[in-house]
């Protein structure tokens, strides 16, 4: 569905992405994991065309995404920090996105109902708390029934109830055979969703393998423990 070949991106002296090649088939749920500043968000943004890579190319359904924009109608993106026009109300933002997307077919308003948006619709974006903004971002990402969902730190800032609602929603979408790409620091909540794990460090892709293989190799069931194990091994190999 999405394939990247030799993607590199430099910000000044910092190598944000270093020659990354990866292919994501449809129907998978990929966890993109790595320490802060390892290039996860930059990589996601290059898939979305928000960051233009210095070299390499990204194919979406076999088509080069450079200078194209239509492919984005198949993607639902939930940013790490949702930033919206400050003096629009939540209702206006939702209406505007519907208007801009020009979506044919039914809208998915599961999250709008589950998050109880009714009381929020008339509130201006600038008055919302971080968590409520995240709810708006989540609702927008799922609203247009996209084939690909890209979720950057989806549960950061959400309360446990909202977090659980979102997680259930992700599971349901995954069962529909959608490609889901998640980055998260809170690894424990990814355990039952993830099928593939991609680990990044300093802009490089350290590995990309199925979760069950990772569980087998490390002998750990939990994603967080498996990753911790690998990080320790890496440190040992650095010392040796």
């Amino acid at each position: 569905m999405i394939s990247a070949t030799n993607i590199s991106k430099q910000f000044g002296k910092l190598m944000a992405l270093d020659n990354i090649s990866v292919t994501y088939p449809a129907g998978e749920c990929i966890a993109l994991i790595g320490p802060n500043g390892s290039g996860k968000t930059t990589f996601i943004k290059s898939i979305l065309g928000m960051v233009v890579p210095d070299s390499g190319k990204i194919l979406f359904k076999g088509k080069d995404i450079a200078h194209d924009c239509h492919y984005r109608s198949d993607i639902g993106y939930m940013p790490q920090i949702g930033r919206y026009p400050e003096n629009m109300t939540v209702g206006q933002v939702l209406e505007m996105m519907k208007d801009i997307r020009n979506h044919r077919g039914s809208l998915d308003d599961d999250l709008i109902n589950d998050f109880n948006f009714k009381s929020l619709l008339n509130k201006r974006m600038r008055t919302l708390s971080g968590g409520t903004r995240q709810k708006v971002s989540a609702a927008l990402a799922f609203m247009f029934n996209p084939e690909v969902l890209i979720l950057d730190e989806p549960t950061a800032g959400l309360d446990p109830v909202a977090s659980e609602i979102l997680k259930q929603k992700i599971v349901r979408e995954k069962e529909k055979g959608k490609l889901i790409l998640i980055t998260s620091h809170v690894l424990s909540e990814l355990d039952d969703i993830v099928t593939q794990v991609m680990y990044m460090q300093d802009g490089k892709m350290m590995f990309y393998k199925p979760f069950d293989l990772l569980q087998f190799e490390t002998g750990e069931n939990k994603l967080s423990k498996a990753i911790a194990m690998i990080m320790q091994q890496n440190q040992f190999s650095d010392i040796l």
Partner: protein, 255 residues
Amino acid sequence: MKKIIKYIITDILRNKIILSYTAFLLAISFTIFSLEDNSTKGLLSLLNIVLIIVPLISIIFSTIYIYNSAEFIELLVSQPLQRKKIWLGLFTGLAGSFTIAFLIGAGIPIILFEATAVGFMILAVGILLSIIFVAIAMFAAVKIRDKAKGIGVTILLWLYFSLLFDGIVLFLLFQFSDYPIEKPMIAVSMLNPIDIGRILILLKMDVSALMGYTGAVFKDFFGTTTGMVTSFLILALWMICPLLISLRKFDRKDL
């Protein structure tokens, strides 16, 4: 693109600066015209406002507006929309609002009190200057990431175009006063849209005699149809060049 323009214009209207700008222009033009018994004098006062206030408000408001819409732009870029259309939509929204504001604020009094060739020239120059300075603001805002620095640079640009440039021209005039520099002066004046506007209006007012031999040379050039067409073409270039460069930059910008 129409949708983007629609959202930008509603947003600009919601923030009341453009409305107060229109009201300010209306108030000042009416005052000027009713204070002076001779409406040509009124036009001359209006000229200074057009040449100083209009570029200032357009460039500063547009720059701040673009920086403040960073979130909105980011949101749009992640949607199935072409970047070019987003940027052009932003430009059209800003330039359109300023054109309408000027048309109402200065256009109505001019048509009421002084519907002459000079009046319409002021109107045309005012509209062109509004659009040109929106384009320059877009260029500065896409080039500079930091908001404070960007706004500082646009203030300096405005200072340059409305004050410093004239200082440099005067300096050149004095330094080279022994040489026949009237004709090169025409070329130099093309480097500043405000100057082109000022010369176009002053020559329409027939006060060029006051400018001595330079005035005569200017009249020779700007007074003819070719000269007029050339200067309007140059003004159009002042509009298109910053816009196109900013468009190219925005197309490759990382958000």
